[in-house]
Each structure stands twice: as structure tokens, then as C-alpha cells.
């Protein structure tokens, strides 16, 4: 085994301090992603800081009516928590669409946000990959890119963020609470948490090394009865999304007051379709309207050699998810 130190911390401050001081240190929570990456030689920390016993696993209501989910709450417990099931059923659907029951029992919410791409080249240390080894090149751009991005990619990287949970969180305008390296609290809007690859694909998100997620807030909304998470994949379970859609509507007197559309499997981050959302507001839900919105959402997609299907598939998936949300 590659030698590494293992430290179990008892306070968030201690955790942050330990990781901050060592560029090759990593937090470990459920370990379902990090340990795989270590076995494959993709990530080679020399120190693991075990945060799994910190008291950050609470799921509780927020004063304004939203819910706060702890960074260390398990994916399974979060999905099945009554506050989440009742108030944010789309989040439950999204979490349960991911991985397997065993993995969800181990995986934490913080780890889910931080999970790395599943791009095959990223996982194979014998191949060039800018995300794994900056400057080595992107093998996927002109290689096997059936799973790769159709939005927001750069010549340096066409990888996608693989999470289901995060797509729902993006649609729900979640806020990520972070403990900074100097001991302060910082709030990051979900849309600003993950980033596009641009010239630095090795950076998945906007956390600084050593910063730790403590919880995720989901503000109150009225989407519960009219929201839906749709995941399209190569097999019925235990497969990452080809395309997924988190769709949510707030209806008032038969018209759409608010709409949310976020896509998974299409970009380096959960992809919000802001223009398409806006175009729905004030209209009466109908299959035609949703079809139009779906089409608009895909208008600036830029598919690669093997993933043109994602444009058609995402368009259909958006329309379908919106119909399911509106129950038409």
C-alpha cells in the first residue's frame, strides 16, 4: 500500500487546520470515491483526515421553512429524512437514483458534492488527462466521448460532473456552508460552487484547499407537489446518468409562477437552464410549452463526435420531466 498518515479529528477547526497545512492531505468522509481513486492511483494523498465522526450529520428545518442537511449526513439518511421527503421530494428522487443502496449508506452529502468525474481517461493513469495531470492533454475530446459534456467544455477538458444529488440541489438554489481555512464561515450559492473547466480542469469547484463543507441549506419553496427528477442511463440501476433533469414548477391559479430546470450529465457542473426557466413564467403548463422550453434549453449545446444524441435526449428528457412535474 502506498504509505499515508491517518488522522481522526474531533473538531472542524482541527480538520481544516490539518488539511490546510499539507497540500497532499485530504478529508475522508464515506470514502466511497476517495478510496477508489487512491486504489487506481488517481489521487495520491499522503495524509487522510477522517472527518466522519464530526457532528455534522444533522438534517433540520431552517427558520424560514427550508431545510439544512449536514455535510456528513449519509446520502441514504438524507433521502429518507421526513423533512426532505415531504418538503423536497425531488432531492429524495435524485439521491435514490444514484449509485447503489450500499454506496448510499456510506456516502455523505459533502462527499457527493466533491466527487470527481467518471471520465474513463481520468480514471486510467496510463492515459493523458488534464484534470488528473495538468498539461498532459485531453484524451476524451477526440476519443471516447459518448459520456462527455455538451455544454461549457473547453479544449482542455470535456468531463462531466457525475452527481445526481447535485443536479437537484442546483435546481433548488441550495447554498453550501463552508468552514474556511482561517476559521470563518462562508456561504457559496450552488450555482457558484462547481466550475467549468476553462484553463484549469484540475479544479472541480471553488473550494480552496483545506476548506470544508459543513452543511447545505435548501431555502423554502413551493415546488414539492410539482417537481420531478428524471435520470436516463444505460441500465436500470447502478449507472451514471447519460442525461438527467431536475425540473420544478410553482403553479398559481393554473399558471407557472416559478420554474427550475437543471441538467446532469451534460457539463462540468450541474447545468441550469435559466433562459428556458424564465420563458415558462406566467404561462399555462402544456406539452407544447414544455417542448418549446426544452428546445430552447438545448439551443447552444455543442456536442462532440460521439455524444450528439445527448442533445436530442436532453431535450426530450426536459420536456418529459416538466410534464411529470405538472402532471400532464
Amino acid at each position: 500500500m502506498r504509505p499515508f498518515a491517518f488522522k481522526r479529528v474531533t473538531t472542524p477547526a482541527d480538520a481544516v487546520k490539518t488539511v490546510k497545512e499539507n497540500a497532499a492531505a485530504r478529508f475522508i468522509a464515506g470514502g466511497t470515491n476517495l478510496i477508489d481513486l487512491m486504489k487506481e492511483g488517481v489521487d495520491l494523498p499522503n495524509e487522510l483526515v477522517d472527518i466522519s465522526r464530526l457532528s455534522l450529520s444533522l438534517v433540520r428545518s431552517l427558520s424560514g421553512g427550508g431545510v439544512s442537511i449536514g455535510a456528513l449526513a449519509k446520502n441514504a439518511d438524507t433521502a429518507n429524512h421526513p423533512l426532505v421527503r415531504k418538503g423536497f421530494p425531488m432531492l429524495t428522487q435524485a439521491i435514490l437514483a444514484g449509485a447503489s443502496p450500499q454506496i448510499r449508506n456510506m456516502a455523505t452529502n459533502g462527499g457527493n458534492l466533491m466527487q470527481r468525474t467518471r471520465c474513463a481517461y481520468f480514471y486510467d493513469v496510463a492515459t493523458p488527462c488534464n484534470k488528473r495531470q495538468p498539461g498532459s492533454g485531453c484524451s476524451a475530446k477526440d476519443g471516447l466521448n459518448r459520456y462527455s459534456a455538451i455544454f461549457g467544455w473547453s479544449d482542455n477538458c470535456v468531463a462531466i460532473h457525475p452527481s445526481d444529488m447535485c443536479v437537484a440541489l442546483a435546481a433548488l438554489d441550495a447554498v453550501v456552508n463552508v468552514q474556511t481555512v482561517d476559521g470563518r464561515e462562508r456561504k457559496i450559492n450552488f450555482a457558484d460552487f462547481h466550475r467549468l473547466p476553462e484553463n484549469a480542469p484540475e479544479k472541480d469547484n471553488t473550494l480552496a484547499h483545506g476548506e470544508m463543507i459543513t452543511s447545505i441549506d435548501i431555502p423554502k419553496n413551493n415546488f414539492a407537489p410539482t417537481s420531478y427528477y428524471l435520470k436516463v442511463r444505460d441500465r436500470a440501476s447502478y449507472a451514471f446518468a447519460l442525461v438527467s433533469v431536475a425540473a420544478a414548477l410553482e403553479l398559481q391559479n393554473g399558471t407557472i409562477k416559478q420554474a427550475r430546470i437543471a441538467l446532469g450529465g451534460v457539463a462540468h457542473k450541474p447545468w441550469r437552464c435559466f433562459d428556458a426557466e424564465k420563458a415558462l413564467v406566467g404561462k399555462k403548463p402544456s406539452a407544447e410549452l414544455f417542448q418549446e422550453a426544452a428546445k430552447n434549453a438545448m439551443s447552444d449545446a455543442k456536442p462532440l463526435s460521439d455524444n450528439g444524441y445527448k442533445v436530442r435526449l436532453a431535450e426530450r428528457a426536459i420536456a418529459k420531466a416538466l410534464r411529470r412535474s405538472a402532471r400532464i
Partner: protein, 733 residues
């Protein structure tokens, strides 16, 4: 006779089931010898070229590392160079600097622990002189060639096809697929006083023994191979894996036992794979649906160093009565390792093309696909005119169609719905030759009333332990629990490799015959005893039951085996017997298993989601000896067929010449959620020709028709013909 699901639950359960679920059944990586060290493989990162240098300085400095071994420092093997025209050129890992495929094993790091070896392996630095590679079959297809000799045409297929009015000419493609068994390839090797003992994941004890004896230039008697349990193989362990020779060489070099276990990622090149294939079927019929011409051309890849060839065109020759048939079998070289047989090799790939083409033809003719097959039913072998030893395919069609409800099918594509889902019904057929090979077994009846039955076969999962125990039990007249069946050891009576669905036929016959001979020995022993009631009785007049023997109808003659043997000076009787197929009689017939598959798909067309909701599989494979095992094999065949049709594909990056999804997250075998209802029907055949058991093989047959039946159902549901597997959502949107 018909077995149905419910009835099958009544058959005996696996005799090794308890050992398997409680973990006492040991798989190869779980064995060890005292003083054993661990070898971890280093694999190449280029597809073709030569190793310039292997720098092991860093690796060998690490704690626990014993040595890094490669072609540079390993002692030479004794293998003679292959003849220039040899077809089989086994790959001996770590014997040269030549790279023939990406992720080829090129060194092994030996250390005190697995973790130390794995870590040090990551520090081995290799430099190469790269050569250009090519791994894309489509790009080299022009250089495809026929490895052996093509079978001559039957009739005048080309002329008839050219003149025909109703015809189909279509091309079908199937990607590389991997077996992905649960158990990884592994070997534990130990040299002691010039004698080599290995625990090895293998389907063939004899082949493995011979391979090692040859490679090290030692007598077979000095090689012992053990493989008591195999955690799935599906063909992947029909040839020795690099782990075998590497562990044996390393152990010889270091003078300690060595264990080599493949990691999941490395496993994709531990063995071959179902080759990629490109097939064209040209089929014509008259207005009544009688086939007038059938051409099946198949090309698949081989490696750069061996002419691996499997027949994809067998069903085109043998399934339908068609007067004009042409088949072409070609292979083309790519720079990957040699393919290998994978469940229903050749046949399932060919069946996808042939049975899809027949379906396409049925729509042109406006004849029901089942009816089309019945109109072209081969009563005798269309190739030779010989009779079949038995063939209940017609009955399979009838019973499975009835169970499925096929007569209610609306023939129009896109006509059947369930709410917003499109429903499609498809069918296909399958066949598999029923082979038999020489095999041997030893049966020993003991004075305590138990029997030990031994044969050097393997059990890669189909339930060989159980089936052989059943055969011995029925023949010996002993309850199952009194019988111990032992396999997986080269010191046992030799039997062939477990492949081609021939084990029940071959080893089962040996067990049955050896059991009969043992009973005769028992009766000879009884006859020699003073108060024997059996003197003068013919063997045929005896009845063997529950560990006792009596003259039929004379309960007063009843004697326990145990009593007879207690009085015997050896306190046991034992017979070693080698059975051979009756090739004279078999040769007068064509002997094959057949099957018919009917299934339903439910499709959410908007997002390309396909679900196989129910399958009825009719199988005619002679006598069913192990009903539960047979049911489970046919279910497994369906699941494999679903994987091949809908999800499985080995992704190769042709620029790198490298397999990019060598893990169970990226290579999609079906999961439970992908599988609907599977109903199996066995139409028994009373076949006195195939072998004394009357049993044909069925382990591979069960998947043969499934991929085509699914593609046919997808067409029926959507009106879209997908000729390129797997049918993933992108192909429907």
C-alpha cells in the same frame, strides 16, 4: 414431458450451495502455502512495440519487496518455438521484450504482502520503442482473410439471390464483450523438489497441466493442478492466463510459493474476449415464405499473433431448410490480445444477424415470424441430409408461443401499447451442437454405505458437483447425501475442459458407466459370499435402491451394500473407467440442442428506455438431469442475452489501442433491476443416440436467440431496426 418453473423448484438443490454461501468453498485467491509471497503485475501502457528498459531500482528499494521479475531476469522456459504455420501460439508472459497488446503483463513485483507488491509495482518505470498499432476492426476489414477453408456453397445462392424479388441484405455489428466473471484470474504456485503444485482458476485441469509441463520441460506427473471451485468463467478460463505462468516462473525463481491475483482493472487483458464482428446476411424467399437463398458472411477480429476463429455461420447452415446457402468466415488482425470463447461463442453472434434478418424478411413477406420459421423448418439436417438424433424444436416453438400468448400479437409495428409505453413482441430460435468427449471417473462404494465419485473435471458454476451427484445417486441407488463427488484436481481421473456445454454429456456418461461397473463389482463381491441370494441372478434382474439390492419382486433377497461390503476383504469396491462416445452411431446423425425464445419489451420511446418485461424460453436438450440447475442455466442465458442486446460493450480507444472501461462501473452487465419475468420450458427428448444419459448440453444454448429476439421486439415496438449492439438509449432517440 414438460418441466415448468414451479416443478423445477422440486429438484435437488446445489450440493455445494451451503459451502458457497457460508464461505467454506474456497476460491483460488483464498489458498496459500507457508512462506508464500505475493506477485503484483505491471502492465504495458502501449499497444505495440518493444520494451526498451524496465527501471526497477525504486521499486526494489521498498519495504517487503523481494524482487521485480521480467523477461530481463527470468530463466528461460523450455517451450519449443511454434511451427511457422501454427495456428495456436500461446502467449507466454514475461518471456520477451515484445508488446503485442495494451495492458500486456510485462513484469511482476514480488513482495511479502499484496499491498507492498502493489505499491512497488506503481514505481516500476518502463520505457518503450513504440510501433504503430491498429485496433479498429472496421479499418482493417479489407485485409480480412479466411483462416481455414470455406465450406463449399450449397446450391447456387448468388444467382438465386440476384434474381429474387423478396429479399433482405443487411449488415449487423457486435462490439467486443468481456466475460466479467466474479472471480478474478488467480494462481498460487509452489515448487517443491522439482514438483510444481498450482491452485489455478481454470476450466481445464488437463490443459493447464500440459501447458505447465511443456513450458518447464518437466513430466506431467511432476505437475499438480487444483481448481476446486471456479467463481464463474464463461470461457474466460479455457486457456491458461498469464497469471499461471507468471506465478510458476516467479516461484521457481524465488524459491518460495507465489500468489498472483489480477485486479479488476487488470482483468480485461487476463484473458480474451468475444471478438468484435461485422456480419452481412442476404436472404431471399418466395411469396409463400420458403427460403430460396441464404448467404451469411461474418468477419471478426483476431490478434496480431494468432489466428483465432470461431464460427458465426453455423445456424445459417443447420437451422433452416434452404436449398441455396453460402457462408463466409473471415478474420482480421488487430493489435489486441487473442479473443477467446465466451458463452455461446460464435453461435450467439451469428444468431443475432441471422434471426434479425429472418425477422426483417417476415415483415417484407407479411408472414408472422414464427410461421416463417415453421415454413422453413428443417426436418433433417439441411447440410448433410442426415436425421437429427432428436429435435423437438417445433414443440419448443409451440409450447413457448402458447405460454407467451404469441397468437394475440398484432403484427403491425408500433401497434401495441401499455399506456404511454410502446410494447414489442419478438421471437427467435437457437441451436447448439451436442458434443461428447472421452472422460473418466472413479467410483468407490464403501462399507459404511457411502460412495466417493471422482473425476478431474471442473465446476465453473453450472452445477457440475450437483449434476454428477444426481447421476451417481440415480445409477448407484444411493441417496444424494451418501455421495461425495470430487473434482478439480489433476490427480483425479482425467476429464476434458468444461466448455462447449459438454460436461454433463461427457463426464456424466463416465460417472454413469463407472457407477454401473461398480455395482457389478459389488455384485461379484456379493456372489462370492456364502449365503448370497444372488447367485445365478442376471444383473438386469436386480434392483438397486436406497443403498440396498434385491432381485426384482423378491424383497426377501434384499441386502444392504454396507453389509455386503463389510464382509468384503477390501471393505470397498472401486472402479476406474474411461468412457468414449459411440462415434460410429453418433456419426449417422446430427446431434444438437434447440430452443425458441419469445419475449416482450416495454419501451419509453421518448427517452430510449427499453425494458425486457417477460421472456418465455423453450428448450429441447434431451433429458433434463438437474432440473433446478437447468432452469438456472436457461435463466442465466436470458440474462446474458439481455446484457449482450442492451448494455454490454468493451470500449476501446483506438488512438491509444486501449480498453477504457475495464471495471464493473463502466462495463454494464445487467443488474437485477434490468431483469423481468423469465419463464423456462423444457421439452424433453428421448434420445438414445446422444449418449447413455440421453442428455444434451444447454448452458450456452440459453442465450443464443435472446439478442435477436430483443432486437426484433424493439422493431415491433418502435418500427426501428437496430443492427448494431448494444441497443442503448442513444440508438432510439
Amino acid at each position: 414431458m414438460t418441466y415448468q418453473n414451479q416443478q423445477q423448484q422440486d429438484g435437488p438443490s446445489r450440493v455445494d450451495g451451503r459451502a458457497k454461501v457460508t464461505g467454506t468453498a474456497k476460491y483460488i485467491a483464498e489458498f496459500s502455502f507457508p512462506g508464500m509471497v505475493h506477485g503484483y503485475l505491471v502492465q504495458s501502457t502501449i499497444a505495440k512495440g518493444k520494451i526498451r528498459d524496465i527501471d526497477v531500482a525504486d521499486a526494489e528499494k521498498q519495504p517487503g519487496v523481494v524482487k521485480v521479475l521480467s523477461h530481463k531476469n527470468l530463466s528461460k522456459l523450455a517451450i519449443p518455438a511454434p511451427a511457422p504455420d501454427a495456428v495456436v501460439r500461446p502467449f507466454y508472459a514475461l518471456t520477451s521484450d515484445e508488446i503485442r497488446f495494451n495492458a500486456q503483463p510485462i513484469a511482476v513485483v514480488v513482495a511479502e504482502t499484496f499491498e507492498q507488491a502493489r505499491y512497488a509495482a506503481s514505481l516500476v518505470k518502463v520505457t518503450y520503442d513504440k510501433a504503430d498499432h491498429s485496433t479498429d476492426l472496421a479499418k482493417v476489414i479489407d485485409a480480412a482473410f479466411t483462416p481455414g477453408r470455406e465450406q463449399p456453397n450449397r446450391g447456387t445462392p448468388e444467382e438465386v439471390f440476384a434474381a429474387a424479388e423478396i429479399k433482405i441484405d443487411a449488415t449487423y455489428t457486435i462490439p467486443i464483450e468481456h466475460h466479467n466473471a466474479m472471480e478474478p484470474h488467480a494462481t498460487v504456485a509452489n515448487w517443491e523438489n522439482g514438483k510444481l503444485t498450482v491452485y489455478d482458476k481454470t476450466q481445464g485441469i488437463q490443459g493447464t497441466t500440459g501447458y505447465l509441463a511443456g513450458a518447464f520441460g518437466i513430466d506431467r506427473a511432476n505437475v499438480r493442478v487444483l481448481s476446486p471451485f471456479v467463481g464463474g468463467a464463461f470461457g474466460a478460463a479455457l486457456r491458461p492466463g498469464p497469471n499461471l505462468i507468471i506465478a510458476a516462473m516467479a516461484s521457481r525463481e524465488i524459491g518460495r510459493p507465489v500468489k498472483v491475483v489480477y485486479s479488476r482493472r487488470q482483468l480485461a487483458t487476463a484473458h480474451g474476449y468475444r471478438p468484435e464482428s461485422i456480419q452481412t446476411v442476404k436472404v431471399a424467399a418466395d411469396k409463400e415464405g420458403k427460403l430460396t437463398s441464404l448467404t451469411h458472411e461474418a468477419t471478426h477480429n483476431t490478434s496480431g499473433y494468432e489466428n483465432f476463429s470461431e464460427s458465426l455461420v453455423g445456424m445459417a447452415r443447420g437451422l433452416y431448410a434452404c436449398p441455396n446457402v453460402r457462408t463466409v468466415s473471415k478474420i482480421a488482425r488487430i493489435d489486441m490480445q487473442t479473443p477467446l470463447w465466451m458463452r455461446a461463442p460464435g453461435m450467439v453472434s451469428g444468431a443475432f444477424a441471422l434471426e434479425s434478418a429472418l425477422d426483417e424478411l417476415s415483415y417484407k413477406l407479411k408472414i408472422d415470424p414464427l410461421e416463417l420459421r415453421l415454413r422453413n423448418y428443417a426436418e433433417t439436417d439441411p447440410e448433410t441430409g442426415k436425421p437429427f438424433s432428436s429435435k423437438e424444436l417445433r414443440e419448443c416453438y409451440r409450447q413457448a408461443a402458447e405460454r407467451f400468448g404469441w397468437s394475440k400479437r398484432n403484427p403491425e409495428p408500433r401497434s401495441m401499447r401499455d399506456g404511454k409505453y410502446l410494447i414489442g413482441w419478438g421471437m427467435a430460435s437457437g441451436m447448439w451442437p451436442a458434443g461428447q468427449a472421452p472422460a473418466s471417473a472413479r467410483v468407490t462404494l464403501n462399507a459404511d454405505g457411502t460412495a466417493r465419485v471422482e473425476s478431474g473435471t471442473t465446476d465453473i458454476g453450472p452445477g457440475t458437483y450437483t449434476t454428477m451427484t444426481i447421476i451417481a445417486s440415480q445409477t448407484l441407488g444411493l441417496p444424494l447425501e451418501k455421495i461425495t463427488f470430487v473434482l478439480g484436481d489433476s490427480e483425479l481421473p482425467p476429464s476434458p475442459a468444461q466448455g462447449g456445454s459438454t460436461t454433463t454429456s461427457s463426464v456424466g456418461t463416465a460417472v454413469k458407466e463407472a457407477s454401473e461397473l461398480t455395482l457389478k463389482e459389488l455384485m461379484a463381491a456379493a456372489g462370492a459370499q456364502n449365503d448370497s441370494p444372488f447367485s445365478g441372478a442376471a444383473f438386469e434382474d436386480l434392483e438397486f435402491k436406497d443403498g440396498t439390492v434385491q432381485i426384482k419382486g423378491k424383497p426377501e433377497t434384499n441386502r444392504k451394500y454396507a453389509d455386503i461390503l463389510s464382509a468384503h476383504p477390501d471393505r470397498k469396491v472401486s472402479v476406474l473407467h474411461r468412457s468414449t462416445p459411440d462415434s460410429g452411431e453418433r456419426g449417422k446423425y446430427v446431434i444438437a440442442s434447440h430452443g425458441a425464445q419469445f419475449l416482450e419489451v416495454r419501451i419509453d420511446e421518448e427517452i430510449g428506455n427499453i425494458r425486457v418485461t417477460r421472456v418465455v424460453q423453450g428448450t429441447a436438450a434431451g433429458k433434463i438431469i438437474n432440473p433446478k440447475g437447468a432452469h438456472s442455466q436457461e435463466m442465466g442465458g436470458v440474462v446474458w442475452g439481455i446484457g449482450m442486446a442492451l448494455t454490454e460493450k468493451t470500449e476501446v480507444d483506438h488512438a491509444l489501442g486501449r480498453i477504457m472501461n475495464p471495471n464493473l462501473a463502466g462495463y454494464h452487465v445487467p443488474v437485477n433491476a434490468d431483469i423481468g419475468k423469465i419463464d423456462t420450458i423444457f421439452v424433453e427428448e428421448d434420445d438414445k443416440i446422444v449418449n447413455p444419459l440421453g442428455a444434451k448440453g444447454l448452458g450456452e444454448l440459453g442465450m443464443v436467440g435472446i439478442p435477436a429476439a430483443i432486437a426484433n421486439a424493439v422493431f415491433h415496438a418502435t418500427g426501428k431496426r437496430v443492427r448494431d449492439l448494444p441497443i442503448t438509449p442513444d440508438k432510439l432517440v
